[in-house]
Symmetry: C2
Subunit: 140 residues, 2 copies
């Protein structure tokens, strides 16, 4: 069992500091669409970023396990929230991964690693809504 501790301290004007021991603080706020200031991380962006970063960390695990010589990795992640009969809810998260490998022989391995990452990402598994992953594997 693993436990992840964080805290949030409110400041004025719909903003606060998100902290975890040893990490740099993250300034958080209500999203601008709901009356908060711009330039701060909203909970909705953090959730979206949790999915995107988990796809990365999980992919790195499988890429390493499959012996892929990775050159670059980037993903864009879009979380969609909508009004539903039960109130505001995330209805989908879309992750677009682009990575580059050094060797021809690693292209297929990288695809398999990404498939495993998609299947086993614990943050995706925590969500009620679907997480759609699209991946492009390039050979440098």
């Amino acid at each position: 069992m693993w436990k992840y501790d964080t805290s949030v301290v409110w400041h004025k004007n719909k903003t606060g500091d998100l902290r975890a021991a040893g990490n740099e603080k993250v300034e958080v706020a209500t999203p601008p669409d709901f009356g908060g200031p711009s330039g701060k991380w909203s909970p909705e962006q953090l959730l979206t970023g949790a999915v995107g970063s988990c796809l990365m960390t999980t992919a790195l695990y499988y890429l390493d396990r499959y012996g892929v010589d990775l050159q670059s990795y980037v993903n864009k992640t879009v979380g969609t929230m909508d009004k539903t009969p039960d109130g505001l809810a995330f209805t989908r998260v879309d992750v677009d991964i682009e990575l580059t490998v050094t060797n021809d022989g690693d292209v297929e391995k990288a695809r398999k690693a990404l498939h495993s990452a998609e299947k086993h990402c614990p943050i995706s598994a925590a969500l009620l809504c679907p997480v759609q992953v699209d991946a492009t594997v390039n050979r440098d």
Copy 2:
């Protein structure tokens, strides 16, 4: 419908940068328990922090709506991940809220606002696992 865009760019050694336009970047990494470095935000901490910060922003909305004169607000949020038959999964998130109000008459309103926040927090609503909220309302 609202969309939240983020991106993650990998650096070496299980670390990367999480970005959203206009915000400061957040350094992310595989958690230390899974071979990553300490001092960076893991996806699991980000998910936990998304819940904690959403409870704050949603509470602020209802506190304002109910006319509560808020003096301070802090919450601690613990996300628990465990091995399950389906692999690693979040099994619960516990949020411990402590807030202080200025006026006696606001104590009960604040409790109601927190109850509404718990019910309507969109990040909690996005999760498969239960989110347990405990709240203490103090009069300054």
